[in-house]
């Protein structure tokens, strides 16, 4: 049996930062990841990372902007800690070797980002995530740890009220193995692929969140799902706000510049949620293009402006959508972009289970509350990745040896063997597509009681179909058909939690927008949703929001 003191699952920014902290605390550390660490989805982040380091800016304004952005669901104590750590965290990443963009005076360049009072988003050209991921991986490379590369986590083993380790399989051999660990850090990133329309990578399937849920961890605020208004049709690749910032306009099938109806003053520059809702309304009322999308037009800006100022958007459109923004309108639609919820933790990354920690997009501290500010999530991965790594290391230093049994592995492997031996049943891809269509249609930007009920009914029916999932590929080597099936199972569990949480929350707050309950209801709902797995489905309870000094106000921009 393999054994480590601290086992980090996931090697994006959150997992790597946790591992570095645990290594520095002199524990025996392993990282397990289904992708090579440098292929993690963190690398796709373009915009930047927030830190109030400018002279005119202050940590307090960063705190205020984050609290307000969260629509008062963020824990203020956590947000205060988070914003104080921002400056030192960015400086540390610079010292590790990150190549940030610079101002003429040699300091870190900053750009403005939505919902924030000052330009405080530090960036590396249009590839901030990649720059951070490279630097952190290269820094970690100077330390000693074990890497389980291209291993898929399937189960977290909890017994006697504490973590004992995990079960995972090596893609290269298909072999299921137990890895005993005193502490396990879940840093497996987002679950955007629950939706068909998403900006997330194909591999963002919430595996670790689901494994933690299976093991008894509480999931927090999963119903809060952020949508981005402008993603490319078909692929879902993100087109940044910059396109509208430069003067891009949205048009419906009638050729109308429809944002005038929804935001008469700021028009196309309205905030993400306003623009997303406007697009959905246009499409629902029959003014979308066939296939349910609208157009983003840049043509009027002229070839030179498009090619110099919007170079990267131009490349995306040409390379991935076959449209040339210089002459063609860009077909866009709103897409799932970020999950505010996740495995519930405190600011040390501790969950409700001894020895189990979570960090990054897979976790919910909560600092984003009902709505995340752009540039805060990269920062979150680093700040709370480190905290989770420190806490996991401290726990491992005093915990007794964990016990994994052969039966733990057999239990994890049994359903897989059944999937692989069925002679009839359904392909996981078909089941996945059905789930995605349901979530897009019924649990999207606008929510109503009847839609959510229908969504829940469908998700439960699809879960039934999944009981008959069949893996036709019988190979033990790099069996992606099996990975598809396992991921789909994980996402179906989380989809149910999202719908149930959204149904229960009879208010509109941040990204959760109930047509039938259009206003925020602080008296009843200024609290976090906690979901625990039971045989009957998710059992919901609620927890108060951490409060320090910021009175809830109406959120107007």
């Amino acid at each position: 049996m393999r054994r480590h003191e601290v086992l980090v699952v996931g090697a994006g920014l959150a997992g790597q930062r946790a591992a570095l902290a645990a290594v520095e605390a002199r524990r025996d550390v392993a990282i397990l990841s289904k992708l090579h660490p440098l292929r993690s989805h963190s690398g796709a982040a373009q915009g930047g990372i927030n830190a109030a380091v400018g002279k005119e800016d202050s940590v307090d304004t960063h705190i205020y902007d984050t609290v307000k952005g969260s629509d008062y669901l963020g824990d203020q104590d956590a947000i205060e800690f988070f914003c104080r750590e921002a400056g030192p965290t960015v400086v540390e990443m610079e010292h590790y070797g990150t190549i940030f963009s610079r101002a003429e005076d040699g300091s870190l360049a900053r750009r403005p980002f939505g919902g924030q009072g000052f330009p405080r988003t530090i960036y590396a050209a249009d590839r901030t995530g990649l720059a951070l991921l490279q630097a952190l991986w290269e820094r970690l490379g100077t330390e000693h740890f074990t890497l389980y590369q291209e291993w898929d986590l399937t189960n977290i083993v909890v017994r006697e009220g504490r973590v004992q380790g995990i079960v995972a399989f090596d893609r290269r051999t298909g072999q299921f193995e137990g890895i005993a660990a005193k502490s396990v850090v879940v840093a497996t990133g987002p679950a955007g692929r629950i939706y068909g329309r998403t900006t997330n990578a194909h591999t963002c399937t919430g595996d670790g969140i689901a494994a933690a849920y299976d093991a008894g961890a509480l999931l927090k605020d999963l119903e809060f799902v952020q949508f981005h208004p402008t993603a490319l049709l078909e692929s879902g690749i993100l087109i940044t706000e910059g396109a509208r910032g430069e003067g891009g306009i949205l048009k419906n099938v009638l050729g109308e510049r429809f944002m005038g109806k929804y935001a008469p003053h700021v028009l196309d520059l309205a905030s993400r949620d306003v623009v997303s809702r406007a697009i959905v309304t246009e499409v629902r009322e029959g003014r979308g293009f066939p296939g349910d999308f609208v157009h983003l037009e840049l043509m009027h800006l002229g070839k030179e402006r498009i090619e110099t100022r919007l170079q990267e958007i131009c490349d995306f459109c040409r390379n991935f959508a076959g449209v040339d923004p210089v002459v063609d309108p860009i077909p866009i639609f709103p897409a799932q972009h970020y999950m505010m919820g996740g495995v519930g933790t405190n600011i040390r990354g501790e969950t409700n289970i001894a020895g189990l920690y979570a960090a990054g997009e897979a976790a919910c501290v909560s600092i984003h509350g009902a709505n995340r500010l752009g540039g805060n999530s990269l920062l979150e991965t680093l700040v709370f990745g480190k905290q989770a790594g420190l806490a996991a290391a401290a726990y491992a230093a005093s915990a007794s040896a964990p016990e994994l049994h052969d039966s733990d592995i057999a239990d994890a492997e049994a359903p897989v063997r059944r999937m692989m031996s069925r002679t009839d049943g359904e392909d996981p891809q078909a089941i996945r597509t059905a789930m995605q269509q349901t979530m897009d249609r019924y649990v999207g930007i606008y929510r109503t009681e009847s839609d959510l009920l229908e969504g829940l009914r469908q998700i439960r029916a699809i879960q039934k179909r999944f009981e008959r999932v069949r893996v036709v590929d019988r190979s033990n080597v790099y069996n992606l058909n099996l990975t598809d099936a396992l991921e789909t199972g994980h996402m179906l569990e989380l989809a149910e939690v999202i719908v149930v949480g959204a149904f229960a929350r009879t208010e509109s707050r941040g990204a959760h927008s109930r047509v039938d309950f259009p206003s925020r209801d602080d008296a009843h709902w200024m609290r976090h949703t906690l979901a625990r797995k039971t045989p009957e489905g998710p059992n919901l309870s609620y927890a108060p929001v951490g409060y320090t000094r910021w009175e809830p106000k109406e959120r107007v921009y």
Binding site: L35, H36, L38, R39, S40, H41, G43, A44, P88, V91, E94, H95, Y96, G97, I99, F100, S101, R102, A103, E104, D105, G106, S107, L108, A124, A125, R127, L130, A131, Q134, E138, R139, G141, T142, A201, H202, T203, E234, S235, I237, F316, N319, F320, A321, G322, V323, D328, D427, P428, Q429, T433, V472, D473, S475, V477, Y478, N479, L480, N481, D484
Partner: protein, 324 residues
């Protein structure tokens, strides 16, 4: 604007070493709009025709570096290559795994040697404990200094260049274009304090095995231009060599490299025209002349006239017995 559909005939290399059976090409036919990326086509095949087709992919937006493969014999990212032009040019699309890396299954290759070469470059800042980074704030770096990295920070480690490189194919000791572009990134980093050591070491660790064929630059989906950075490294390495004591451990290694492999066409020119000592100062200029007519040789081999170089070295310091 509605698009015409094209009929895509896609011939995919299939092999599962564990399952036995010989490698084969399997033909799939799909109707798709011409702008469809190859990756999307392959995922359609997985979803609709054969879920056992095996490949690496994740981001579908040319940023994670997972999906490099041979598309009609060129190393490219599947997610960034539309099918239309491929079909227009070749009539069909032949999909094979990347080269220079052993096969795992279908299009998935074993990247161990690629990652190891990257690690050998000591890809992290090396700093002198006596000259620490500024406490509590960022190191100062001007936009002009950032420019020095050129396009190397864009590298997504996709290994398309490694797959295309004939020097990798010929000599396992060659780190490959990506690793050398990475080395360049650290050599020009104003925060790094091992520049000299890096430049000296790399000369015995494969720098001069590069054939200057530029196939890596042609293959790179992110315009990192590894061959141009390797050229820069060679120039900087020679300049760095000029700064070290003659007869140092590194210098000996440097000379041995030339003597044994004889792949330093540039060096040969410089040596022949200026003699060894004279060449050091002239190196930069020599390169510029030479760069105008690059010779493309497919395989590293002992260059013609290697005997002459050997004689020069022999005269300077006799070859130790038992060497080679």
């Amino acid at each position: 604007m509605p698009e015409e559909m094209v009929t895509a005939q896609i011939d995919v290399f299939r092999h599962d070493p564990a399952g036995g059976g010989a490698p084969r090409y399997q033909r799939f036919t799909l109707e798709l709009p011409p702008h469809t990326p190859v990756l999307t086509a392959l995922l359609r095949i997985r979803a609709e025709q054969d879920p056992s087709l095996t490949l690496r992919y994740s981001c579908r937006s040319a940023i994670c570096g997972s999906c490099a493969m041979q598309i009609n014999s060129k190393s490219r990212l599947a997610c960034q290559t539309p099918i239309g032009p491929e079909i227009a040019e070749h009539g069909r699309i032949v999909i094979e795994p990347m080269r220079n890396q052993g096969g795992v299954r279908d299009l998935v290759v074993d990247q161990t040697s690629f990652w190891e070469a990257y690690d050998r470059m000591r890809p992290h800042l090396i700093t002198d404990p006596l000259r620490p980074m500024p406490e509590g704030r960022e190191t100062s770096m001007t936009p002009a200094q950032v420019e020095q990295f050129r396009e190397t920070p864009r590298c997504i480690a996709c290994a398309a260049c490694y797959s295309a490189c004939p020097a990798v194919e010929a000599d396992a000791a060659f780190p490959g274009p990506m690793a050398l572009a990475k080395l360049y990134r650290f050599v020009v980093d104003p925060r790094d304090q091992a520049r000299q050591d890096r430049l000296v070491r790399i000369q015995t660790e494969g720098l001069w095995l590069c054939l200057r064929c530029h196939l890596c630059t042609e293959a790179c989906p992110k315009d990192v231009r590894p061959s141009e950075r390797i050229r820069d490294l060679k120039e900087m390495a020679i300049a760095a060599q000029g700064g070290t004591e003659r007869g140092s451990r590194h210098a000996i290694g440097f000379k041995q490299n030339i003597r044994e492999r004889g792949q330093l066409n540039e060096m040969k020119l410089v040596l022949q025209t200026d003699g060894i000592l004279g060449s050091v100062g002239q190196a930069g200029q020599g390169f510029k002349i030479w760069r105008k007519k690059p010779e493309i040789s497919k395989k590293p081999r002992r260059i013609e006239g290697i005997e002459e170089i050997e004689q020069i070295y022999e005269a300077l310091d006799p070859k130790p017995k038992g060497d080679r």
